[in-house]
Symmetry: C2
Subunit: 223 residues, 2 copies
């Protein structure tokens, strides 16, 4: 029984890593489709999101089953509770990658990135990919130094997000309403992706330390 | 011991209802401040959000403690698992109410609702308040007919959300970039608020029926 139990817990962690990897692939393809107007890539992201959703739901069910049958305590319990919270964030990160892909697709054959914001969105996209990859590594290793790196990367994403609004609301902005809407939504999606990564990172800190309150994820930028 | 346990579970449910009530108050004040440019009201929402965050974190800690000490099964376990997931959604709904209030405050003394969209945002705001109140009632009573009503209200919110984009991207739109950004963000916040309400409603269905997969909340509008 004990052995079966530990296999299940290892399974929970392996599944979290697997979902995080799928999210990494999704955001990498989504941001690439966004900067190159590659509609095939965008469609691949949109199609693959259902797999992330299914895997997240299946992980939740496994976590609940472990709680019901094996009544874990201490670190084992933290693994299961973390999984329940993290699966929701990863699922949401997959949705945000999908939204970015949908923006690319909806503007095709035009380029979705508004004029004058190409380098900003390229950098935000790179940072989103970076935090997704770091998150996968963090879930695999529980190396808390990576959690700190993710916070720093998210700060950089937040700065870029604010710079998009400075640009769009500045004197020199000549974009049509479409460009303004696209910039606003795309920036918001990129920024929320980073927020969720920080939220997951905090849960991994809880997993390692047992401090839930310190891992609370209530602080986010408004836009 | 059993009696203490049942008191804790009742406490979990009572706290969910309490947080949902605070969220209802927040969205009511936020949408009112948004339509009337009442900066005092906006500031009250922004200030009160920390209370929602604290109560959600405290509820999580109670839920984890119950899992660790009392190892609940069946419906008792579902209450605790639901609380862990629902607290995150309610906390996020509080954030969205705060974001709407921040939009009102940032445009003060101007009106935050862009010209030509007054009736649309008034209606979206009313629907957000309605779903928040219904959610409180659903958490209190577990009357699943209310869950269905929330889904329908959310469909109406989604339609209004799409109509905002039709307006902003239409021929007749003469708004400056500021108005376009405000309309985009405000509409997104209102729409996400409804999504979270549906997500919570689905978790209450799980609580009542034990069907987690059917309560999966992966389907959302992109913008």
């Amino acid at each position: 029984m004990r052995e079966v139990f530990h296999q299940s817990l290892e399974d929970v962690q392996a599944r979290l890593v697997e979902i995080a990897e799928l999210v990494s692939v999704a955001i990498e393809k989504a941001t690439q489709s966004f900067s190159t107007s590659d509609v095939t890539l965008a469609e691949a992201v949109i199609e693959a999101d259902a797999i992330i959703d299914e895997k997240a739901a299946a992980l939740d069910e496994l976590a609940i089953e472990i709680l019901a049958r094996q009544q874990p305590v201490a670190r084992d319990l933290r693994i299961v509770v973390t999984a329940l919270r993290v699966s929701a964030s990863l699922e949401r990160m997959g949705d945000l990658a999908e939204h970015i892909a949908q923006l690319s697709r909806s503007r095709f054959p035009e380029r979705a990135i508004p004029k004058g914001l190409k380098s900003t969105f390229t950098r935000m996209g790179e940072l989103d990919v970076t935090v997704a990859k770091k998150l996968t590594e963090l879930l695999r290793t529980e190396d808390l130094a990576i959690a700190e790196e993710i916070r720093n990367d998210d700060d950089a994403i937040d700065e870029l997000h604010l710079s998009v609004f400075e640009k769009v609301l500045g004197e020199g902005w000549t974009g049509e309403a479409t460009a303004t809407v696209d910039a606003t939504l795309a920036s918001r999606y990129h920024e929320r992706f980073g927020d969720h990564a920080v939220s997951v990172a905090k849960r991994v800190v809880y997993l390692a330390t047992g401090d839930w309150a310190g891992a609370d994820d209530s602080v986010t930028l408004p836009a």
